[in-house]
């Protein structure tokens, strides 16, 4: 087997949450790390052409990112995230991601896929498997664990504006302009600031306890908690939930949100994004949502309205 010097990380899915940590981890082990560029129309189109139709668009586009990288790296880093916390799982499509990549893309260099499963294992298991798969004989495990434990940024503001809407959804939709069809840019272009955040443990547990049963998916918990906690936040004038059309978990969660929370408190809208190439429908919905939000203002308590 060719020795691995240069490792590629596809800029999709969990890269948008853990990418910086992965890069630092691999660099600390002496590897050269390259990432695919931000999603482009051509990466998306290649991804769609490599996929079977049942996959959701983020997974399809991920394949496009792997395809861009495959000829310029010795290995591709696609960790298998099964569970990142006790009592919750990732979507099955994440769990099977490395296998789907291998099945869909020909002539692919080795896929390095250490398992992250905190439901049954520990971060140490992940590190051990990573080192083994990379034939890395001289690990500084303390340093590796330190890097993996680094905090991720939790609050993000996009653009400027006198009023702010919360954007919730999977990070790989929120942080990828091609995936979200420029939704956030479009919100900004209307003079509105967008805010995305990862809710803290306390409000997550509080929200989960208020439901008939805890949400099963980690990222789903974030979305549900974000909506719930922002309904009462007076600095926020509306909530836009970006949803991917073929997302299995979200098809439940959008319904759960509608049924469980008092959405009359604040303008709320779920926007479903699919493979349409035109963004007219998306713009119509965002414009109408902002029109509604501004007109509703005096009727509601937020922002010190009359």
């Amino acid at each position: 087997m060719k020795s691995i010097k240069r490792i590629g990380i596809p800029r999709g899915l969990l890269y948008h949450r853990y990418g910086d940590i992965w890069k630092e981890l691999l660099k600390s082990m002496g590897f050269e790390v390259i990432t695919s560029p931000g999603t482009t129309e051509s990466i998306r189109d290649i991804g769609l052409s490599l996929s079977v139709c049942d996959l959701c668009m983020p997974i399809k586009v991920f394949l496009g990112h792997v395809n861009v990288l495959k000829d310029s790296v010795d290995a591709v880093f696609i960790p298998r995230y099964i569970s990142i916390e006790q009592g919750a799982y990732m979507c099955p499509k994440f769990i099977g991601l490395p296998d789907m990549v291998r099945a869909a893309i020909r002539n692919i260099p080795p896929v390095i896929d250490p398992v992250m499963n905190l439901k049954t294992g520990t971060i140490m298991d992940f590190v051990t498997e990573l080192n083994k798969k990379l034939h890395f004989k001289t690990p500084d495990k303390d340093e590796q664990l330190r890097i993996l434990g680094l905090p991720v940024k939790r609050d993000y503001f996009f653009g400027e504006g006198k009023i702010t809407v919360v954007v919730t959804g999977r990070p790989y939709l929120v942080f990828d302009n091609i995936m979200n069809k420029g939704a956030i840019r479009y919100i900004n272009s209307l003079g509105v600031r967008a805010f995305y955040f990862i809710p803290d443990l306390f409000s997550t547990e509080k929200t989960m306890d208020s439901l008939p049963k805890w949400v099963y998916w980690s990222m789903g918990k974030e979305v549900v908690t974000s909506v719930r906690s922002m309904l009462d936040n007076h600095d926020i004038c509306g909530i836009i939930n970006l949803v991917n059309s073929a997302c299995g978990p979200d098809s439940f969660l959008v319904e759960l949100i509608t049924r469980s929370f008092d959405l009359g408190k604040k303008p709320y809208m779920a926007i479903t994004i699919d493979e349409h190439t035109s963004d007219v429908g998306l713009q119509t919905r965002i414009e109408a949502f902002m029109d509604m939000t501004l007109k509703r203002k005096p009727l509601n308590a937020w922002g010190g309205g009359k």
């Binding site: 482009t40 990466i43 840019r185 059309s245 009359g264 429908g281 119509t284 414009e287 109408a288």
Partner: protein
Amino acid sequence: MLEGFLGIDVGSVTTKLALIDKNDDVIWSTYRKTKGQPIRVLQSALRDLSRALNPVILGLGTTGSGRRLASYLAGADIVKNEITAHAVASIETVPEVRTIMEIGGQDSKLIIIRDGVVIDFSMNTVCAAGTGSFLEHQASRLGLSVEELGGYAISSTKPTRIAGRCTVFAESDMVHKQQMGHEIEDIVSGLCDALCRNYLSNLARGKELRDPVIFQGGVAANEGIKSSFERELNKEIIIPEHFNIMGAIGAAMLARELSPKETRFRGFSIAHQQLTTSSFYCNDCHNSCGIIEIRDGENIIARWGDSCSKWSAEFEKVSN
């Protein structure tokens, strides 16, 4: 000289124009098929308006999925999304309205109003099942025109149950029901019920539909759908006089509200220009934006579609 405010609603299937006076009364209107040629249809509609009344346009509003195109072409003072435009027109027509159902060619909308303000809305998601295109397709498959469907539907006393979740399923379901020997009136009536169930389960889930309920959009011409909704909701459904041009009326009202000192309307001469559109992909970066141009002969009069404004910068931007 006749003066008025003009609203243009370029939808996916039809193009609507409405001219209103300062009291929001409709003076002139037209409703015609877009036939995939929005520019030509718009030009011919404007020609007809100028021939019929030759009015002075005090302000122009555009709406519909082709609102930007219409604005670039005709010079709009205000460009507004369909939800807001429909709501504005409905509230003016029926001030106490609390629910607006709108079904057009490829969109369906539900708008919830309280005290004259939009407080919630929903639109169909990524699929056009249960909209006008679906009805039209099924009508043509049955050898009927879409206008005939309503009459057939209300003459049925025992609607056939049709799956309306998806156009493709509905079609195969209808074929089977025909082969089983169901009468065409019952099938058409069942189709209306299916569309109505589809609409309610997609858009109205979790929402409270309070009286008065207005039903508008091209599909409201179909009495079969209206009676399906009345049965399903057990409510009286109001169909406004101008049900199929409400978006255009709303756009005109928004222009009237704005009452610009000087309109940006380019004048009726645009109806006689030799306008052509062309498009190309800019490959200067990986985004590969699709750029669209409108030309009058050799002259480029509008260009848009780029995300970096490299191509559109020299052309006037239209605000929302």
